[in-house]
Symmetry: C2
């Protein structure tokens, strides 16, 4: 295997050296003046990135832990929720809500389809309402990013809370927690927030706080965490090293400006799609600017994406993602969330091109990199 | 405040530079060959440290998350458990079991008392049994380490499962999961395992697996994690950076040999106690070799431990721990778990001595450091 590594998956994502440097500092005590200012700044910065005036609760866990926090705090057994499922992470909502014995209704799409506000409104009407709609902003398994603002409006009109998995979208594409009336937003450190995995976060609207249910919970209990954070304490020893890294990463994001960051993601997505198409590949994820998080590409006829992924890894030290579940071997996914620039895209495309050629795929050689660079420039708005 | 920092608390604890170097490596994908061997080795090493042939389940959370995992997987609502409480972390068991609506009975001691096997046996008889006894091996808030082997034997005789919080004890003092019949053992990365906070682990006996209950759970579900670990997968994106650090730290522990590590902790505890006594201070934690994790010392008459802790921090950059709850201001605690040697103890004692003298305490000057060094040598058994 090549010595040098290229992490080009949709999560975990590459982490800037400044963040790695921060997490490798000697451990400090979480109740000391060495940590409290870091904690305070991190919580404030999270509020800015979430675009919310509500508290953002910080948990030491994977993003799925914060998804469970949403369900465990909101849903009592037997309460009806509507899960919008169009991929792997929609299915995760279903699994969590089922584990908590909610009455789980679904609005199900084929993997790769884009959930629509009208469908959500229709399904809620059909059901006579639901306590909450659990949905995925960016479905990492397919590359689809839905129109969250429209769906939240539809759910709100039907009296349902909007509960959003924004693990791979927050900090990559626009998300307005307060302005769009998102009742619960959950995210994680290891995607666009450019920090190693191990931290998850959740914001909840006043409406969501008022709608809390009766399920048992402790580590992920909202109130325990909110009370502790209010005095810059933490309910449990937090992953201080990762918080120090997140603080630095959020500072980088906010210094760049969220609008500029979103624009870069749009251009990265465009570059990836245009490069792939120039090579003659067929996109699986939508060819639209909203899907700026991960690009999913169909393996050419006769080519197994699993083989492509393995060869990229063994020959070049490049990690991209295979398809999940039924899509395994049929698609491959190039991430461009967080600490990515256009040369990560051209690296991915150049390597995919040579390996596909080796595997005997009929592709157009020598055009993808140039087309990607052009497409990246075209989209410059800032 | 002084520039140089000394973290001398019972957790989080100082982390060796080798471990900090490991966690600051570029992030790798958790399903890639860059991570799987690290994961496999870490899980195997955890088994060696736990002294168990059962799977050790690894969670991305604080130690309290693994405590919740114990309760959520074992206890259905209404099932009786016996919580042994003699401090802050006994109270945590009570809080978690109450959150899960177990029928919580308690065996309560004054903070600083040592739970005894006879008391546990007697209380279980009085109750007519309980599904599980939830107890704390090393009560970090008081410095007490109980005779876990005897208590587990007593619980086992009464047909109760033994569920142990070994967060601050595992890797510091002897703990034999299988040989002592410990049904569930939970621990965390940030104490004797010499890794930053953010990872927790749990082992469960066959008896415990067979006794699982009906409470809702997802992130902390044992089966979900066991199944994933069996194929070196992880159920959720793990904190890969922290796992890389834990791998290195566990290697250091096992290379040194657990017996040698336990012996060093005994000698560190002895050094700390003898030094404190030589200064004329009164111990709060027991003056026995088992209490080798943290030494709790009473503040001299007229001295506020809160003031002592603040001055150590501001003048010398030294962090030690105050008392918890009702003991706040009345005791102070010097940790010696994990990456500690005798000069950490002499640093703590020398600084405590000078600050207490400043505060007007009547203490013996100039003897503590020498006495600590002598006591550390006396105990050399290896």
């Amino acid at each position: 295997m090549s010595e040098k590594r290229y992490l080009l998956t949709p999560g975990p994502t590459p982490v800037p050296p400044e963040v790695l440097a921060a997490i490798s500092q000697p451990v400090v005590h979480h109740r000391s003046p060495d940590f409290r200012p870091v904690y305070e700044r991190t919580l404030a910065r999270l509020g800015e990135v979430f675009r919310t005036r509500s508290d953002v609760l910080l948990f030491g866990s994977a993003g799925s832990g914060a998804m469970e926090a949403a369900v465990a705090n909101l849903c009592s057994a037997g309460e009806r929720v509507l899960v919008v499922s169009a991929g792997q992470f929609g299915e995760r909502w279903r699994a969590i809500a089922s584990a908590y014995r909610a009455e789980v209704e679904t609005l199900e799409y084929a993997w790769g389809e884009i959930p629509a506000a009208d469908d959500v409104a229709g399904r809620l009407q059909e059901l006579g309402g639901a306590k909450a709609v659990l949905l995925t902003h960016s479905e990492t398994s397919t590359g689809v990013v839905c129109d969250l603002q429209a769906i939240a409006a539809a759910a709100g009109e039907q009296g349902a809370l909007t509960v959003v998995d924004a693990v791979s979208s927050l900090g990559a594409v626009p998300l307005e927690t307060d302005a769009w009336g998102l009742d619960v937003v959950v995210s994680g450190s290891q995607k666009a927030l450019m920090t190693p995995p191990g931290l998850a976060m959740l914001s909840a609207s006043e409406r969501a706080w008022a709608a809390r249910g009766e399920s048992p919970r402790f580590y992920f209990d909202w109130e325990r965490t909110r009370k502790a954070q209010a005095t810059l304490d933490a309910p449990f020893t937090p992953p201080v090293s990762l918080v120090a890294g997140l603080d630095v990463a959020l500072g980088m994001l906010l210094d760049a400006g969220l609008e500029a960051v979103f624009d870069r993601h749009v251009r990265l997505g465009r570059a990836c799609r245009e490069g792939a198409k120039a090579m003659g590949l067929e996109l699986f994820s939508p060819d639209d600017d909203r899907s700026a998080v991960v690009t999913a590409i169909r393996a050419p006829d006769g080519i197994d994406a699993t083989e492509l992924v393995a060869r990229l890894r063994d020959r070049f030290g490049i990690t991209i993602a295979n398809g999940h579940a039924a899509l395994k071997g049929r698609i491959f996914r190039i991430g461009h969330i967080g600490y990515f620039d256009v040369f990560d895209i051209t690296t991915a495309l150049a390597a995919v091109e040579i390996v596909l050629a080796d595997l005997g795929a009929e592709i157009e050689r020598g055009v993808a990199v140039t087309r990607a660079l052009e497409a990246f420039e075209e989209r410059a708005r800032v």
